[in-house]
């Protein structure tokens, strides 16, 4: 547990290799390696190039691996050697922070950190600390084990409504909180919405945030068209005064991308895309999801309205999307979504607090009532005749189901026909006479890749895998299968929970 004491410190010599590493990775034409500014790409994540700084300590963070890099710096997975938790360390390129111009870059970097740090919300990536070490500025942020929406859609294609809506609703809730604090994110897009292993959306990258503060002289982007072209609101392109509605527009375009698998406006040139944002309506989303709901299509149209005043608030977006996801829950038989998204209908109590009532729509509040209460209300509202009709119908359904289930084992006509094709074929192609499934053989020997016997576990009660969702008691036999290079130890279950892990099922 005292690993950091034995870890090599980030010495002045290491600064040189770290700097070279930054330069080496960045000097590919001076452009960011990732698809969007500052956003790690999948390619970055899977990079296996050895980094000379791996294992060094910056401040009280042990540098583990490169997650991604952008124009401003690197994002590195690191371990907080004090709290023994994994964080994402965003390190500003040193050359950007040098000289007179460097002050602005540092201030911009600090603005991002301060903005994000001022919001503590489950739908916004948390900032733990900002500091500098040997001239390197860094932000220690919550490490989100998951993928961005961009990566998920790239890997898995367009998402079904039941998977997309809760994630975007989460982002809308996060935006609502930011807007209430006078912040405009200004760069909402798929790569800036991270999806955790348990399916919640989190907004990241407040690098372009506008803080509603007249004493904020460092908003260097105040008079610029900033953002990402595919998701940029018309008023941003026109350089008009900005309101929180710019984020709603970008979120609408993001929702469109997630449901269609492509951005709303396509074009070979940036000007072409921007022109469409200014003058064209987005193509009807229903052409990509023929069975989609008109309400959802209408919401996207409203979110992407050219006139900012027409767009719904973030709270309204969240409420409608949550209602949509419940309406469409039937198409999500599997509870999982791409990229580690496991849908949970429970909204951590957040939506209930933040949403506004939508007249005529299915509201979260009504859905949160106990089933029996809603059922009772429903029954009390209908006439006796209807009650009899419903009761009769249910009885008939019951009889039909009993008949159906009692006929289990009787092959259908089709199956009988198949069975007649080869009457002399063997009944079994295996070695077992019955289908009793095998039970797992106990794992006796510790596998060579296991952490067991390789790390100091004094004080450790629970263990987990870095990329995993669950934590296990150190005595749990299943935990032996955790790889040594993925090992994380926790002194308590609380610590593991705070790190985003769930108890192993």
């Amino acid at each position: 547990m005292e690993e950091s004491k034995h870890s090599p410190q980030f010495s002045p010599d290491d600064q040189k290799v770290f700097a070279e590493s930054l330069v080496t990775h960045h000097d590919s034409g001076g452009k960011p390696q990732s698809s969007d500014t500052g956003i790690p790409s999948s390619a970055d994540k899977t990079s296996t190039k050895p980094q000379p700084w791996v294992g060094k300590v910056m401040g009280h963070f042990k540098l583990l691996r490169l997650i991604g890099e952008g124009a401003m710096g690197l994002v590195i997975q690191a371990e907080d050697t004090h709290l023994k938790r994994i964080v994402a360390l965003k390190v500003l390129r040193k050359k950007l922070s040098e000289g007179e111009k460097g002050k602005d870059a540092v201030e911009q970097f600090l603005r991002e950190a301060r903005a994000a740090a001022s919001i503590e919300h489950p739908n916004i990536v948390r900032v733990y600390e900002i500091n500098q070490h040997a001239g390197w500025w860094y932000i220690a942020m919550e490490m989100v084990s998951g993928n961005s929406l961009q990566e998920i859609v790239k890997a898995a294609g367009a998402l079904p409504v039941s998977r997309a809506c809760p994630i975007i609703a989460d982002a809308a809730i996060g935006l609502q909180v930011a807007h209430e604090l006078g912040m405009i994110h200004r760069d909402i897009k798929p790569s800036n919405i991270l999806v955790t292993r348990n399916g919640h959306g989190k907004i990241s990258d407040f690098g372009l945030v506008r803080v509603d503060d007249p004493n904020d002289p460092f908003d260097t982007y105040a008079q610029q068209s900033i953002g990402t072209p595919h998701y940029m609101a018309p008023e941003v392109i026109r350089r008009e005064p900005l309101t929180p509605a710019v984020d709603i527009y970008s979120l609408g375009a993001t929702l469109y991308y997630v449901l269609a698998g492509r951005p709303p406006f396509a074009g070979g040139k940036m000007e072409e895309i921007l022109r469409q944002h200014l003058h064209s309506d987005p193509p009807d989303i229903l052409q990509y999801m023929p069975n989609g709901s008109p309400e959802l299509a209408s919401l996207i149209q409203r979110m992407m309205a050219k006139e900012p005043g027409v767009r719904p608030s973030a709270a309204e977006v969240a409420a409608i999307l949550h209602a949509e996801s419940i309406t469409f829950s039937s198409d999500s038989q599997a509870t999982g979504g791409p990229g580690g998204s496991t849908l949970a209908m429970d909204w951590q109590g957040v939506l209930q607090k933040t949403r506004t009532a939508i007249p005529g729509s299915l509201t979260q509040t009504s859905l949160r009532q106990p089933v029996q209460k809603r059922f009772g209300q429903f029954i009390s509202k209908i006439s006796t005749m209807w009650r009899i009709v419903i009761a009769s119908a249910l009885i008939l359904v019951t009889i039909a189901m009993i008949l159906l289930l009692s006929s289990d084992g009787t092959p259908t006509q089709n199956r009988r026909a198949v069975g007649k094709l080869f009457p002399n074929a063997p009944e079994s192609f295996g070695t077992r006479n019955t289908g009793i499934p095998p039970t797992p053989a106990p794992l006796i020997e510790v596998p060579g890749f296991s952490w067991k016997g390789k790390v100091d576990t004094s004080g450790v009660q629970f263990v987990a895998s870095q990329s995993g969702r669950y934590f296990y008691s150190i005595e749990d036999r299943r935990a032996i299968l955790i790889r040594a290079d993925q090992y994380i130890g926790y002194a308590s279950a609380d610590e593991a929970l705070k790190d985003g892990k769930q108890p192993a099922p």
Binding site: Y288, G336, L405, N414, G430, P437, T439, Y470, A479
Partner: protein, 380 residues
Amino acid sequence: MAYRLGSIRISIMLLAAVVCPLGLFCAQAEEPGRVYEIRFDVIEPPVVAQKDITVKAPMSNQQTEPKALECSGLAWVDGVLIIASDRHEHLLFTCPVDLNKMEIGTPEHHVLIHNEQFLLDDAESLTILTKGGQSSIFVMCSLSNAPNAQPLPQRRHLFHGKIKSVRPLMLERTIVVSAGTLRQQLESCFETIGVLPYYTFNADPGENKNTYRWANVEGIAFTPDGQTLLCGMRNPLFDNAAMLFAVSGMPEMGQPVQPDSLKVADLFLLDLEGRGISDLCWDPITQGYLITAAKSNGPRLNPNSPYPPNTLDSALFWWSGNKKDSPILAARIPDMTIEAVCRLGDSRYIALGSDEGDISEGRGARQSILTIMEFTGIPR
């Protein structure tokens, strides 16, 4: 008062009407054990390793443009994983795996057919037959219709060869024969029982992007006695169940395949919750078949859609081999497209191979993910 009593009676009836079927339904839906959830980029028990094994190799001797490995079949021989790719028409890949350190190496390709003309086009399945310490490899094409299968019939071939060495992969007495005779026999079966043809989407230019593909075989495995080859079909489903057929007349060890001796000896259905078979293998450790299954990406409702939602819903099943037994769901794999499965020797581990790309869907990224997980039975 009478009204109240009437309401109570109705309420009881309603309650009974709701509870009875629900209870019965729940009893039916109960699964015998826990079901694992395997995910991309999540390495935790039972998953012990995962790696993107995408490498590129020429897709054929005629078309030397390197194309990415798209994993379609896996087999384990003497510590080496052998991989079939449905994008490559003349070669197989090998990939070293260190089971102790659980490290997955980088695949290398090995050209097996030097004069091929689409001979291994759409090679969807791979299996090994071992007898007396000697292993033979069998690779089977999907038997489906290639969109542009003129003038040669494509996707009809069965490749066979004795393994001489695996480091590097060297075969002897290799032979490719037509498995078209199996297709003809199956077609007759389909007509008898009324199996409808299978259509799927192809993005090539043309009026009708939903093209007739007949059917497709995606997994083969020898029965434990080595006498019969079981073939699993991904499409079409019949009665919402996957179709398998058994082939007799397989050659004795070391003997070449005789196409005329190949006979469809059985056709039967397995319930995989609406999925078709994407691969299967005999597992000597659990004495059953491991079956990977996924839903069809069939015809496209809107041919202009860039690509459909990925709802293929891959899963791993264990099946005793007894036709009366239902396969048992062992793992859900919702965000990967699993195309191959095999046991890694006599270890506790199995390998799952995915093919995340599809050329007909215009996706730029190609990736084959290899996942290794512990599997020695169904957890309870």
